[in-house]
């Protein structure tokens, strides 16, 4: 696979390390009343869709950026690549 890095251009996926669903950037509030349940859902439950999937890749053999890649799990087509940090910051500003 080739991941089109937002700054560095197309790079072989072998340079990256995969983590999983992009929802892992939304870590729950540890002080919430139902924190235990929220953390259980956050860490263990997955949509695991057959189709478009937003997922985290780490450019370990590159610029060490964490990326959110939108990739189809049936075709492997990649439609979007973003810096996870930008997404995380944007989601914070929404809140």
């Amino acid at each position: 696979m080739i991941i089109n890095h937002p700054l560095l251009g197309p790079r072989d996926a072998a340079e990256f390390v995969y983590k999983g669903d992009a929802s892992l950037i939304n870590r729950p509030d540890w002080q919430a009343d139902d924190a235990a349940e929220l953390f259980h859902e956050y860490l263990y439950l997955r949509d695991n869709p057959a189709g478009e999937h937003r997922e985290l890749w780490y450019h370990e053999q590159g610029d060490r950026s964490w990326l959110i890649v939108t990739r189809n799990t049936l075709t492997h087509d990649i439609s979007k690549v973003e810096f996870a940090r930008d997404v995380a910051l944007a989601e914070r500003s929404k809140k």
Binding site: L7, L8, R11, D12, A14, E15, Q61, D63, R64
Partner: protein, 189 residues
């Protein structure tokens, strides 16, 4: 006073060898300092760099060259730049912080890497055995920098000038890295 003295060594003892159409040689006498740009501090770093090295912060994947200490500034990541310059003494950070004050967080990386220069008309043919990056000048023009992986080893590759590439890889695996490059030459030319 301590009666002991320490002597420095280089990763490959100054290796240099010419193959047909390609030369491989260890590069020494350079220091590497990593500049981390503080959150929101890019402007301050830029100013300091412009003032002293007359350089802008390069985008990741690019490098710029200064006449001061033959410094090369390499864009490694959005908030990380390597400054590679002529300096053989200890504490290269002191040199850089003199120029940049506390605009950037500095880390000495001079002893973290082995540097090999691969040059000559066959250099691309040799590197194509181990380098996943497209080194064609139309894609990776002079001044380009890339961190990638070669023979299981993380490697920074810089296109210094036509048919000349600088490779930087971890010092502890310098021998394996040299072997990777040497074998490529032996297998190719």
């Amino acid at each position: 006073m301590a009666k002991f003295t320490l002597t420095a060594n280089t990763p490959l003892g100054g290796f240099s060898h010419d193959f047909k159409g390609v030369s491989i040689s260890e590069v020494n006498g350079r220091s590497i300092v990593s500049l981390a740009t503080p959150l929101g501090g890019k402007e301050a770093v830029s100013k300091a760099l412009a003032k002293t090295y007359k350089l802008e912060i390069p985008e990741p994947g690019k490098s710029t060259v200064s006449s001061l200490d033959n410094a090369v500034l390499m864009g490694m990541a959005q908030d990380q730049t390597f400054l590679v310059f002529d300096h053989t003494e200890d504490k290269p950070i002191d040199v850089v912080s003199k120029h940049l004050k506390d605009t950037a967080f500095l880390t000495d990386q001079s002893d973290s890497y082995v540097m090999l220069r691969v040059s000559g008309e066959n250099s691309r043919s040799v590197l194509e055995r181990i380098c996943p990056i497209d080194l064609h000048p139309s894609v990776f023009p002079e001044g380009s920098v890339s961190r990638t992986i070669m023979e299981h080893l993380g490697t920074v590759i810089v296109h210094e000038k036509a048919n000349t590439f600088l490779l930087m890889s971890a010092r502890s695996s310098a021998k394996s890295f040299l072997e990777a490059v040497e074998v490529s030459a032996l297998n190719t030319v």
